[in-house]
Subunit: 190 residues, 2 copies
Amino acid sequence: MQEKLPKPWDPYGKVYVLRLGHRPQRDKRITTHVALVARAFGANGFILAGACDDSVERSLRRTLECWGGEVEYECGVSGRRKVEEWHEMGGEVIHLTMYGVPVDDVIEEIRSSTRPKLIVVGASKVERYYYDAADYNVAVGNQPHSEVAALAVFLDRLYRGRELYSIFYGARARIVPSPRGKTVTGGVEC
Amino acid sequence: MQEKLPKPWDPYGKVYVLRLGHRPQRDKRITTHVALVARAFGANGFILAGACDDSVERSLRRTLECWGGEVEYECGVSGRRKVEEWHEMGGEVIHLTMYGVPVDDVIEEIRSSTRPKLIVVGASKVERYYYDAADYNVAVGNQPHSEVAALAVFLDRLYRGRELYSIFYGARARIVPSPRGKTVTGGVEC
């Protein structure tokens, strides 16, 4: 039995990503990228507020089956209710928005608090409620770009880059880093 | 006259992003996010290989007009030809791929070389040619996630996070970071 290494979210118990404002069809690829970034950068939950979207869930589950890891998936829930739940259980809510305070100004405080973290990312328009309810409104640069990028850079800063070396347990395939080719162990075509 | 601060790409002359494998319609939103991340994280060029896509160009131009900055835009060109041109003018080509070597292993070398940088990001399937022609095949984590995320984290590491403080000249609107609200100066609704 392999000894289990610590997981990125261990200090906090839970690091979940809440995706707001998803419009099925139109947003399915961006939302899938958000879900895959959540997994790859060390979150252990992904919540899709509002309608469910089979194509997002399928992509995430296929990735988990092939490349391993543990991400709880929920959908069809109220985003507000999730924020309330998170506060009730003592967690903190971090809303990523280009209007917020620079990530560097708050990341140490967020990193050193052991409270479970709910990271909220929106699509185009996020309701005022989330700006008020969040413990932190955090900007990864005060420029318009991408919730996919904002989430990745935020988690990369939270974990100081160590998330890139996580072991994903249960993987059927693993990449061996290579300067030139594509080397995959496990013998499975994913 | 405002004194111009150094721009992130100054040490290299050019930091361009080459987007491969774009399928109009299907990829328009992801490719738009790639273009906006290129701008926001300190690239000064964005090249869309293959077909042009008006919706990508429109989003990028609208962002530049409103929020400022300088990004050269090209489309409808051959990706291979661009890589060759880049090498002919003494530049280096960095292909972001989950199969590559960890970003931390090569970022210092890439950062300290003053050669112009062409950062190649693919969609689903990238031709073997690019793995062979690239000076570096670089992985931002050896896990499947998102070219949007990979590009953002790569540029964030290249510039050591300083790109988040860039001044975007010519902006009609600027965000004043705020812990709770949305504060924009310039008086223009973008």
